[in-house]
């Protein structure tokens, strides 16, 4: 008898607690929900989120923003069918579109292209001035990231294989700690850690240079196939709001930085510095053959993704690279380029 009442009390308490979980405001159970996975790298995504543009443009829907820390997690969420839209790097996208994952999503937007905001830096006092001198040195980078991809591309450019240097898997904060202690000689990482490293080191190469050499790394916006088939109109609205954010970044970086800063917890000045070092395309560029291409004519981005897929295959992280057609099919070009400027 007493057991039962304790049990009942527990059940009631659990349900009450579940009921008052801290959730985003403005969720209405009657409206369908659009689930968007985002990450905290500076991008138009954060401008849209902070200004609530999507909520304004789609008043008949709940917009649920879910924060992720890595592209691998975004991929997992897509496999679990928990996301409609997502933001992730080109390397995870290439992985997601290749076997065995074969995630049914399409690339619908280029959020940003890595520029001077990702770079390979050598520590002062190590005597390293060129990439070739890295041979045998300890170089840190967060594995499975775009920086990892760029680092190996930079090494390959200079005739070094991954085994010629001591690669160390470290997250950016740990890179800074190891750098200050003198445990590593060089690192390929991104802002804001990168700015701290630059105080006592020098750039060997940046992702901007690598992009010019044909090895760009990008952050992409993807949409699940199912959602794109069922709600092409919403995909259009989403792309237009993202395009609006890209335009704002171009025309009024200070205003964009303010919105992004509010999302990532840095000062607007720091954020503006970060945004300036990245490369943000204009909506016209996004719809150009160099990137997404136009309706029915997938652009060059498919080639980039295919080369990222080949890289993963060389790393033995996927059995084999997917074909170029696979990536061309996975570019969402519907209505491009016109739809972005509406």
């Amino acid at each position: 008898m007493r057991f039962k009442s304790v049990f009942a009390a527990l059940a009631v308490a659990t349900m009450a607690l579940a009921g008052c979980s801290v959730d985003q405001p403005g969720q209405d159970a009657d409206k369908p929900t659009i689930r968007i996975g985002y990450q905290t790298f500076p991008s138009g995504d954060l401008v849209v989120k902070n200004n609530r543009w999507l909520e304004e443009a789609l008043p008949d829907y709940n917009i649920k923003w879910v924060k992720f820390d890595s592209g691998a997690d975004v991929n997992t969420a897509f496999i679990a069918k928990e996301l409609d839209f997502g933001a992730l790097g080109s390397s995870p996208v290439a992985r997601g579109l290749s076997a065995p994952l074969n995630i049914p999503y399409k690339v619908a937007l280029v959020l940003d292209v890595a520029g001077d905001n990702e770079a390979l830096v050598a520590r002062d006092g190590t005597g390293i001035d060129t990439i070739a001198q890295l041979k045998g040195k300890r170089v840190a980078t967060p594995f499975a990231s775009t920086a990892h991809y760029s680092l190996l591309a930079a090494l390959a450019q200079n005739g070094l294989s991954p085994s010629d240097v001591q690669l160390i898997d470290l997250q950016p904060q740990a890179i800074l700690a190891a750098w200050d202690r003198g445990d590593i000689d060089a690192a390929y990482t991104w802002l804001p850690t990168l700015d701290d490293l630059r105080k006592s080191g020098k750039d060997l190469i940046t992702s901007r240079q690598l992009a010019k050499d044909g090895k760009p790394t990008l952050d992409l916006g993807v949409v699940s196939d199912q959602f794109a088939n069922e709600h092409p109109d919403i995909v259009d609205v989403w792309r237009q709001q993202e395009a609006r954010a890209l335009t704002l970044i171009k025309d009024d970086p200070a205003a964009a930085a303010k919105a992004v800063a509010a999302e990532i917890g840095l000062s607007p000045e720091q954020t503006e510095g970060q945004i300036k070092q990245g490369v943000f395309l204009t909506p016209e560029q996004v719809g150009s053959p160099e990137w997404l291409g136009s309706d029915g004519k997938p652009g060059n981005i498919a080639v980039n993704l295919q080369s990222a897929s080949q890289f993963l295959a060389d790393q033995k992280q996927i059995p084999s690279a997917a074909s170029l057609e696979t990536f061309q099919d996975a570019i969402y070009t519907k209505g491009l380029p016109g739809v972005l400027s509406q």
Binding site: A72, T76, I79, A80, L101
Partner: protein, 287 residues
Amino acid sequence: MSVFVDIAPDEPQVGSPAPVASTGKWRGILTRAALPLLSVVVFFIVWQLVATLGIWNQTFVPYPSTVWQAFIDVSTTHDGVRGYAGYLLWEHLYMTLRRVLVGVVIGVVLGVLLGLVMGSVSWVRSVLEPWLTFLRALPPLAYFFLLVIWLGIDEAPKITLLALAALPPAAVATTAAVVAAPVGLQEAARALGASRTEVIRDVVVPSALPETFTGIRLAVGMAYSSVVAAELFNGIPGIGGLVKDASNYNNTPVVLVGIFAIGISGLVIDGLLRAIERRAVPWRGKI
């Protein structure tokens, strides 16, 4: 690693004089050997079925054969690639076990010494207990970053983390055991003229040993369950580093290989510890 905290039910003594009916003996063997085996077989059948049904994506539930292939790939050199990330599976496991061994030895030695002191001197217990409980409540992930800042990225922070994970269970169990040492025996020894040190050495420590061993087993379990956290930074070679790296690539088969390697080696280690315990403390449960 799971630690069975139940005091190892004294396995039926082989050749014990107790009259055991032969059917009972057979049943004993059956329960001890066949049932675990059967559960493993059932597990694999269910796994294969779930994978074949294809309710979930391959990334969630890969085929057992895929995982087996991943195991082979990680254990051998194939297409000019050595194992995973340049190291074979046993090398990953060896590095991890070495770290765990060093960390656990440091943690357990310190923990048991601490426990002895805390159990015997009450004011020390009052001073240290809150700290120990504080440390025990911390998930290793919470403070690992500090260890990296203080100790660098090589072996030192990993071993320190494992030692810190192993210390509290050993210390707490030893303290409790020492406190619970039978007062009657202690007083009897005193009355027979034993000094304080002699009482601790000959009465307190032997009576505390069984429970201390449980603490040590718990400590090893705690340390072992912290390996992925310990190898979060620069963890390759290392089985925890392997699991972390593979999950960054959504490489589920390799993750499962790593998990099996950790789990099975954990079972083996716990079995070894139980065997040592039976030899070292035959008087468990008999005083």
